[in-house]
Subunit: 209 residues, 2 copies
Amino acid sequence: MTIPADPPTRCVTVVLFDGFELLDVFGPLEMFGVTGKFRITLLGPTAGPVASAQGPRADADSAYTDAPKPDILLVPGGIGTRSLVNDQAFLAWLADYGTSADYVTSVCTGSAVLAAAGLLDGYWATSNKRSFSWVCEQSSLVNWAPEARWVEDRNRWTSSGVAAGIDMTLAFIAHLHGDDLAYRVADGTEYDWHTNSTWDPFAAKNGLV
Amino acid sequence: MTIPADPPTRCVTVVLFDGFELLDVFGPLEMFGVTGKFRITLLGPTAGPVASAQGPRADADSAYTDAPKPDILLVPGGIGTRSLVNDQAFLAWLADYGTSADYVTSVCTGSAVLAAAGLLDGYWATSNKRSFSWVCEQSSLVNWAPEARWVEDRNRWTSSGVAAGIDMTLAFIAHLHGDDLAYRVADGTEYDWHTNSTWDPFAAKNGLV
């Protein structure tokens, strides 16, 4: 679906890496994309194909080091985050790059990467509930919320695991452009949007509350 | 997330085309992918990048004409379907290729493409609810269901619009491998699975019932 719109005004820049989780990226990009209000740029270690944790490859528009300034930065999760949190060169680049963004967002274990880069120091944040203890180990300077579909703290938006990124993105679209657009996107994509950021049955299912 | 599993036994083959809808493809592939029970192959007009309706490109493993026999064929929707239903060379290829599949599935307006190729003749099927009248015009030989999250008729599985493909895929995984695996996938991806194929508030929202 496409909602007719004014020319895109903000760029959503996604940091891809080997082993990114497919839905962490393409759930949010579906919602951003159909509004017609955002340009989308995919970054990778180099321009060209980047393999997801599930196998399929996305085509990065630009290498990290050639990336234009981000308006909205999105870091997905996935098994590839396990090595990224120890990649000091990558984390130094991300810390610098993220600081220049208007909004810093993550889905699932993407918040572990943001935390390792210091981009969540002093912020409330959440993450995947099955990997929550590992995520918390990445930084003691983050206020980790164990029960939340997503957390908004100033210009940091972090979601719970995988599918939660879709709910957060719709709330973020509502924050920027109003509830009406977000509901039209949800209805147009036939998505049953969880509008309450405290809805989180997966915290209890994973023994976090 | 990854669920440890036996080696993959079936191949899910996705037909990409210029203007495919991102979530139609990557919602289902997330769910198939995390089970570890399916190999995934992306087809395109040629091998290499294929642009989605929302902009981001996926990297096709193979051209249509070089594609291995599909076990499970998946045709997504998206604005690109509007021209595909009139592309006789493509439809002839799809009709032949789909006939060799064990299962033929679609998300959203992908069912319009299947219908135009004759692959739904005599079957019950559903589609995107906002584009439903256009979809129905593609074939009078299909029993179109206006109110359904997804429809299963023998080896044809068709879903309603965009996000509905995720619910259908989990039901399809349950059909092949049991409910327990499907629930574990939904919980692991923190997805609120609609398990009832007749749940469809979008039919009423679009005046179809």
